[in-house]
Amino acid sequence: MTLPSPDIFLQLSINGALGGAMYGVAAVGLSLIFGTMRLIFLAQGAMIILAAYLVRALFQHLGIDPFLSLAIMVPVGFGAGWLIYQGLFRKAAAEEDRNISLLIAVGVMFLVQNLMTVIWGGNTAAVVTSYTASGIEFLGVRTSFTRSMGFLIALAGTGLVVLFLRNTLVGKAVRAASEDMTAATLMGISPHKVNAIAFAIGIALAGAAGVAVATTFPFNPFAGFIFSLKALVALALGGIGNVVGALAGGIILGLIEAYVQFFISGGWTNAIAYGVFLAVLMFKPEGLFSRPYKKA
């Protein structure tokens, strides 16, 4: 193995980071839902793909440009998330046993995946626009236009969520309710409202991620699961409930995959990515970006 020239290294790093931001944007939504309800929302990937199909439908039938459809997908996602919470998770959120909501998420995943198959068929679908597969130069590095846009979407989404969580009282209430629902109600916080908001934002992010996915990748109803898995890894790397950490975790994952693909072999990317993930947890059991404490 010879060391690559600096520009190749830069090339690798930028493209890897852009690729990782895709995991990141999935992870941020997941992180929010996970952080509030301690729920591994395994269906997040399926929701992203569902959004991608909707983006495609808007484009094919109404001629709405995929990036412009962000203006539709985000509010639609928000509304859908609100409804999904109220309809499906409200009851389970009050249960001690968190497997219950995990399984509802699995049920939703089955349901969404197969509804998509029934409606759009199982074949690979794609959105083709004038800018599909076009490249841009950046810092002397050639990279993908849609991925760069995806990266911006990830940054913007994460930024907004962070502002919300850190700087608004409602954001803090979201975190409070996730920690102790009873105590939160005593503060006058309505846990279900707060959970629904978190869920709605999470699914709104899935809507945004759907735009990024639709413009960049071909997809099929089952393509989302891998996003869920990678997003979970990203999330744990960053530290559960830490939204910036989730994005950073995604980017780190993307970088690891790029470096492994380049320096070792594409066949080992997953194993090594998961290996690094486990190794990191061994040394920083609460993720890279959180400060733990223990007290009796």
Binding site: L88, D97, V108, L111, A236, I240, G267, A271
Partner: protein, 321 residues
């Protein structure tokens, strides 16, 4: 459990065990159906041990199931165990207790090795995600394992031994009952006490003299052992183990779902859940082949919304172990 319940359960087991002797019944679909129910029930029981009783949510059952399945297939197809005896007795590996136990042990060993670091460092959600990552690593290792693991295709075992489902059925039944009894005994012993204590409050448990890591790792390994047995049993049915099939996440998600539907932390729950859920899935597949996953998805959601404590807790008699 009331004594009366026990009598009913024992009677049910006897009836199930004798069922194949009923004339004409042998040739029915019921046996392959029940065989799969048993495989899932065993897996579910294993998961219930670590997650339901131990409180450590593992998302890695599929890894241990696959390790067990591979161990059986590799030992058999490579004849690593019985040497020249194999020529004399070509069926020696088929339902061979030694092979099966070794398959469980390999899974248990892997669980112990990975469990030591994971369980000493990771709590709750992080442990769950760690086990999920472990499952993926194992899978990639088998894909890249060269001739020994048969690479991406996997290993085939001699399927000519497969003539009837009866050994599968009886072994499945035996293991289902056996694991339930073993776990029931375990939970009544001092180890059960420790396991529950660790689940309820780890810090208090260690302050009261419990080696929490040891307890957790032992439970994790025992649960993996059970999953490995299920994998071995499955190999005797499917004869082909490949990374995509035996390390499929289905082997984790379905048993988990069955346990929760049946009732986590109960002995009967995993079995009940496996039976009911597999029946629902199977009927849906037969009657609405094009849409059945939608029905299955809905069933899971409805079950969770309206039966969150599980079937086994519907009647007060089936109390905790």
């Amino acid at each position: 459990m009331f004594a009366q319940n026990r009598i009913w359960l024992a009677a049910a087991v006897v009836v199930l065990a004798l069922l194949p002797l009923w004339p004409g019944v042998i040739d029915s679909y019921a046996f392959s159906f029940l065989f799969f129910v048993f495989v899932y029930a065993i897996l579910a029981q294993g998961w219930n041990l670590i997650a339901g009783f131990g409180g450590q949510i593992s998302l890695g059952s599929h890894a241990f199931f696959g390790l067990g399945a591979y161990t059986t297939a590799i030992l058999w197809s490579g004849n690593y165990l019985w040497g020249s005896l194999y020529q004399a007795f070509p069926r020696i590996y088929y339902f061979d207790p030694v092979t099966m136990v070794l398959s469980g042990l390999v899974a248990a060993l892997a669980a112990a090795l990975i469990g030591l670091p994971l369980l000493s460092k990771l709590r709750g959600d992080y442990f769950a995600l760690g086990t999920l990552g472990f499952g993926e690593i194992v899978k990639v290792m088998f894909v890249n394992g060269g001739d020994f693991t048969g690479g991406a295709f996997g290993v085939v075992a001699p399927s000519s031994t497969f003539e009837t489902l009866m050994p599968h059925y009886w072994t499945g039944l035996g293991l289902t009952v056996g694991t339930a009894l073993a776990i029931g005994w375990l939970m009544r012993s001092r180890y059960g006490l420790a396991l529950i204590a660790v689940r309820d409050d780890e810090m208090a448990a260690s302050a009261n003299g419990i080696d929490t890591l040891k307890v957790k790792v032992a439970a994790f390994a025992a649960s993996a052992f059970i999953a490995g047995l299920a994998g071995s049993l499955y190999t005797y049915y499917i004869f082909h183990v490949g990374p995509d099939s035996v390390f499929s996440l289905d082997w984790m998600l379905l048993p988990l779902m069955m346990t929760v539907v049946g009732g986590t932390g109960t002995l009967l729950g995993p079995i009940l859940g496996a039976f009911v859920m597999y029946a629902v899935f199977d009927l849906a597949r037969i009657f609405v082949p094009d849409y059945h996953p939608i029905i299955s998805g809905l069933t899971i959601i409805l079950a969770m919304l309206y039966l969150p404590k599980g079937l086994a807790r519907l009647r007060p008699a089936a109390a905790r172990a």
